[in-house]
């Protein structure tokens, strides 16, 4: 403890009036700092010591450090093959050589898929549905938590959501093939491919594209005949529908994906294409997939029908009509006043085999007169997947509001487009 008394000569003499003395004490301090000398010298930023920073010694040490690190780590691990070429060999004990074939998926990538696919993982609800429709659900090892169509899919093991599945969970199921859509991020697909898994990317933009994808999936999963049969029956239904709707002008519709804010669909989505099959044309012309639209535009265009996508299956649209009639701007729309609200079930927004049934049911709502459906109370919008080719006349009737007992077949053609 230093005593604060005046007579301590040491203190007075320690004034740095003597430059030699200060140099001596400086070297004593240097020895303390020299413990960290190596590190400190590497990064010695000083005023006039800028030369030190630029000196060769600094760079030499730094270069050595980098080379050392690289040389130590590189040889040991660089040769590590992180790809699994035959991961499912462990699962079924087959020999190490597996035959694969090259397939081009919807993104244009070339994917090497095993010839014999035993275990599939699907990363989207529509893919799960396709797998069940093809009758190969016993090959389905795992799907996502959102896969609920058909209900049996809920009992399968899950790997997470479509957007961010757990890589480990997917690997743990030892899949031969992983099916993915745009719902899964590019990074995840790349990561799965890097781990050596075969990932088939399915992204149809049209209804026919959906049929092609279904056929392709059937081909690569070893059920080509079933695929052909399914596709043929779906195609037949579509053709029949088209025949019935033939020469009917397309209804101008506003397809509402979300109400608040108002989000509709773009021209390039498969929903727009499905709409055309159902006899409707979206009034929103946009290149983006999910454009946000202002109510002013809608008021100007005055679509003939408004299509809503309710969360749960609705049997009739009376509830929706009442709700829209209560909303301030919506109730000015002609379509709302006339009660021309059509409901599309959740299959409609999914490129899967069930889409066809959805198209049919929507067509019945948009063109009721074609199907000979009277404006009666009570309507059902059931659309089972395996419906026979000709739609029944009694089911799928739409209930229109009481105001317009008779709907004229000819409608005014409001100008569409923005």
């Amino acid at each position: 403890m230093i005593s604060p008394k005046r007579e301590t000569p040491l203190r007075v003499e320690s004034q740095n009036t003597d430059p030699n003395q200060s140099k001596l004490t400086l070297s004593a301090r240097e020895s303390v700092a020299s413990r960290l000398a190596v590190f400190a010298r590497l990064f010695y930023f000083g005023g006039t010591e800028l030369q030190l920073f630029l000196s060769k010694r600094w760079f030499a040490v730094a270069a050595m450090a980098v080379c050392g690190a690289a040389s130590v780590s590189a040889p040991a691990l660089a040769s590590a093959p992180t790809q699994i070429r035959q991961q499912s060999a462990l699962a079924n004990g087959a020999s190490s050589a597996r035959a694969t074939k090259l397939v081009t998926d919807d993104s244009g990538s070339s994917v090497a898929i095993p010839v014999a696919v035993q275990r599939i993982v699907t990363l989207a609800p529509n893919l799960t549905e396709t797998v069940y429709a093809l009758g190969i659900e016993d090959k389905l090892a795992a799907d996502t938590t959102y896969c609920d169509t058909p209900l049996a899919a809920k009992a399968k093991p899950h790997v997470g959501g479509p957007a961010n599945p757990s890589l480990e969970a997917i690997v743990a199921t030892h899949p031969d093939l992983v099916l993915a859509t745009t719902m899964t991020s590019r990074e995840t697909i790349d990561a799965l491919r890097k781990l050596g898994l075969a990932v088939y990317f399915a992204d149809p933009h049209t209804v026919r594209g959906m049929l092609d994808t279904t056929q392709k999936i059937a081909d690569i999963t070893g059920a080509p005949e079933k695929g052909a049969e399914l596709v043929a029956s779906l195609q037949a239904r579509l053709d029949a529908l088209r025949a019935r709707l033939d020469e009917r002008p397309l209804q101008h519709v506003l397809f509402v994906v979300w109400e608040d804010p108002l989000i509709s669909i773009g021209q390039n989505t498969f929903i727009a294409d499905a709409l055309r099959w159902a006899g409707g044309e979206s009034v929103i012309v946009a290149s983006q997939d999910w454009p946000q639209v202002s109510m002013e535009e809608v008021l100007r265009i005055e679509p003939e029908y408004i299509i809503l996508t309710p969360d749960h299956a609705e049997t009739d649209n009376s509830h929706e009509i009442d709700e829209l009639r209560a909303r301030p701007v919506w109730r000015e729309l002609k379509a709302v006043k006339l009660g021309r609200i059509a409901l599309a079930d959740e299959e409609f927004i999914r490129p899967s085999p069930g889409l066809v049934g959805s198209i049919e049911s929507l067509a019945r709502q948009l063109h009721p007169e074609v199907f000979g459906v009277p404006a009666t109370a009570g309507a059902s919008l059931t659309a089972p997947v395996r419906e026979p080719a000709t739609p029944k006349a009694t089911s799928g009737a739409i209930r229109l509001a009481a105001i317009h007992a008779g709907l004229k077949p000819t409608q005014e053609h409001a100008s569409c487009g923005l």
Binding site: P4, V12, S14, A28, R29, E30, V32, L36, A40, Y44
Partner: protein, 288 residues
């Protein structure tokens, strides 16, 4: 009233006639400075030319009304701004050409307040004064701790060692700030209006301490202050500034002439010589 205030600085050397005059620490030769306010119509402010010398163990007070250039002069002495003309030398070296670290080893400017973002203990704060010595990335040695401890002891703040800085009172904080400046082991100690926020007891204590430090540690202490009487009591020499000109430099009794003081401060002042040889300034009935 003498309307003619002389503009040449009157410098008198209190050490004239000494056998061995104390070492000259600070040399200010014909230093001048000027700056213009941001508003273009306002006139430029000019300081100088100023010349004087500071010796070891000397306490010089710089006095003057507001906007007379006191703080500017102090900043010039500290090396914060460069003079337009003239030289300022400390221990033989010119201040404006000194390296930052060397300057910190010679000159210590005592801050008025210390705004601290994150809490710091008193001893950590004082140890920071040792920064100019040693390498950039350094760890304090035993010697540094010794110096810091000495400094704390000399300001009488030993007991505050482990306290948090923001828990100190105004006076305690100032002592600690002073201790940090002292830990720099400077030749020149500069203070800019250190008595501003202190009560009269604090003011006296501070100046007493500065006087003692000047004597014991052989500092040259330069204090900018408004306190006419305290300056007269404790300082060896006083520099009187007025509108950027240095009017007088000399011992208190020489500088405190009633006419000059009244002219400079524009207040009715009287000077009374006391038995100690130090003058005292009084207010002569201000209610007129």
């Amino acid at each position: 009233m003498n309307a003619d205030v002389r503009h040449e600085p009157v410098v008198s050397d209190p050490y004239a006639g000494f056998v061995q005059p104390p070492q000259v620490r600070l040399k200010v030769e014909q230093v001048s400075y000027a700056y213009s306010a941001t508003d273009r119509t306002a006139p430029k402010f000019t300081l100088g030319p100023v010349s004087f010398e500071g010796h070891q163990r000397e306490l010089v007070a710089i006095l003057g009304p507001n906007a007379s250039g006191k703080s500017t002069l102090l900043k010039l002495l500290a090396g914060l701004i460069k003079p337009l003309s003239g030289r300022i030398e400390v221990d033989g070296e010119e201040v404006s050409s000194m390296e930052l670290r060397t300057r910190a080893q010679r000159i210590a400017l005592v801050a008025q307040e210390s705004e601290m973002l994150f809490p710091l203990r008193v001893w950590e704060y004082v140890l920071q004064g040792r920064y100019p010595y040693g390498r950039r990335l350094r760890f304090e040695s035993a010697e540094d701790c010794l110096m810091a401890g000495n400094a704390l002891a000399q300001v009488g703040a030993e007991a505050l060692r482990d306290r948090w800085m923001d828990q100190l009172s105004g006076g305690e904080k100032q002592r600690v700030i002073l201790a940090r400046a002292m830990a720099q082991q400077p030749s020149l100690l500069l203070l800019d209006e250190p008595t501003q926020h202190l009560d009269i007891g604090g003011k006296v204590e501070l100046l007493r301490r500065l006087r003692k430090l000047a004597d014991e540690n052989r500092y040259t202490v330069i204090v900018v202050t408004h306190e006419l009487n305290l300056a007269a009591e404790f300082s060896d020499r006083i520099a009187l500034l007025h509108k950027g000109k240095c009017l007088r430099i000399g011992s208190p009794d020489e500088v405190y002439q009633p006419e000059i003081l009244e002219e400079v401060f524009e207040a009715p002042l009287e000077v009374e010589m006391r038995s100690t040889g130090r003058p005292r300034v009084l207010l002569r009935g201000a209610r007129e």
